[in-house]
Symmetry: C2
Subunit: 262 residues, 2 copies
């Protein structure tokens, strides 16, 4: 039985996150629209088997993806391009499969992932007097703040997150993972247009809300409420209260997930 990995993009605005939500009885609740649920339904219609689709990353409600990975096993053997097209024909216009690959029978999109990359988009300015207005067409994909941000300052701070650290300060209190140590391979703040910036973060894995709390902390530094070298102390404290706010989901996008070559 072949196993397939799909690379999936979705506009998270109208999804209640990735993960299928179950009612108390354990059946999938039909009234909660999730990315996993919508994709699984389209895959089941395509392959005409009641497959389970497992995703690599449980993105939250409102979070976007252009490089989510999802895998399933089925009896049918299909050309991967045809599989893509057939699934896409059954998907709503806020989700699309960008490629399909045949993977080994024991492939796990979660534990086989080597690295992931996220982007957080921020716009600032008060409009009219204070510069350009808040995003209009980009309001579902960009977080907006009225405060002036210094991207260079933020970038200095971002570099200090690179490496292996205990990121306990950068995750929601009470999250249950055993270890809060993660390795960040890259963390950069790039001024993309006047009063717009992107935070790019890549690492071996991420704790719950980690990128949104990193973005919230970098914003504090960008507006001058914290110094760029505050990162070291925040990491060392392993205490959520020292880091910035959890920024809202719409600025976040899961960009890519890296797997070993087949």
């Amino acid at each position: 039985m072949p196993r397939y990995r799909l690379t999936v993009a979705y506009d998270g605005t109208n999804f209640h996150g990735w993960q299928k939500q179950c009612t108390a009885g354990g059946d999938a609740a039909v009234d909660i629209r999730t990315a996993q649920g919508v994709l699984e339904q389209a895959v089941r219609e395509t392959v005409r088997e009641p497959v389970n689709v497992l995703g690599a990353s449980r993105t939250d409600a409102g979070v976007h993806a252009v490089g989510q990975a999802a895998a399933f096993t089925c009896d049918s053997e299909m050309d991967t391009d045809r599989l893509c097209a057939a699934i896409n024909a059954r998907l709503p216009d806020d989700m699309q499969v960008r490629r399909a690959d045949i993977v080994s029978a024991d492939f796990s999109p979660i534990s086989d992932a080597i690295a992931k990359g996220y982007r957080y988009r921020i716009a600032w300015g008060r409009g009219v007097r204070g510069g350009p207005p808040r995003p209009l067409f980009g309001r579902f994909t960009t977080f907006w703040t009225p405060y002036d941000l210094d991207a260079a300052r933020m970038n200095l701070a971002a570099r200090q997150l690179v490496g292996e650290h205990d990121f306990a300060s950068f995750t929601r209190v009470g999250q249950e993972r055993e270890s809060t140590v993660r390795t960040i391979h890259d963390c950069r703040v790039v001024a993309s247009r006047p009063r717009r910036l992107h935070i790019h973060v890549a690492g071996d894995g991420f704790l719950y809300n980690m990128v949104r709390i990193i973005a919230g902390t970098l914003i504090e530094i960008g507006r001058g409420k914290l110094e760029p070298d505050a990162i070291e102390g925040i990491l060392a404290a392993t205490d959520r209260s020292g880091a910035g706010a959890t920024l809202p989901p719409q600025g976040l996008c899961l960009m890519w997930i890296k797997y070993p070559e087949a």
Copy 2:
């Protein structure tokens, strides 16, 4: 009594066009959400007078604007930046006032307009096999076609629309304007990214659906169903049936309106 001109941007997706729609009784129908209606309501709340807001261009449902102009006269004299901010505070997040100017008491946003510029955005490709997939985040602002387009061919054709012509072939049959002669100052097709292009059109005025029919005609040329030099014959025929289809509204954006310097 001062008169103000507002420069207005809106995401047309959730508006039933610009123009306020009236019930048979002549009252504004409260259940039809129009850009003019929403703006007028915000202006009335701001200046606390039952002003009428007149727009320059009656954009259709789903058509966007970043440079719509709208004018109103009221008793209150306000600083234009404060006026902007006060109106914006009362607008929903799919509309914003980008600037306000004081104009003469007899200013008309319609008859004083010297020129207008529009952009029509197109993406193409069949996804997976045929190239990148259809727009996901841009699906409300871009028209998508599966057919490969040749932007250079389209641009050759676009240049032939420049000048004073009878554009009767490029408007909806039965439209009531007296003259269908207009002057196009600029018409260009610009490849913006791989498999993406923008059509830029500027002119002294536009007939109903004119830009969307121009875009529909240029697409026929771009995919090879018409030759670039077909434009001359289509114009000469003064007959709607020779031109291409009216493309859907979401690709269209009213970019700017030019007025004489005060």
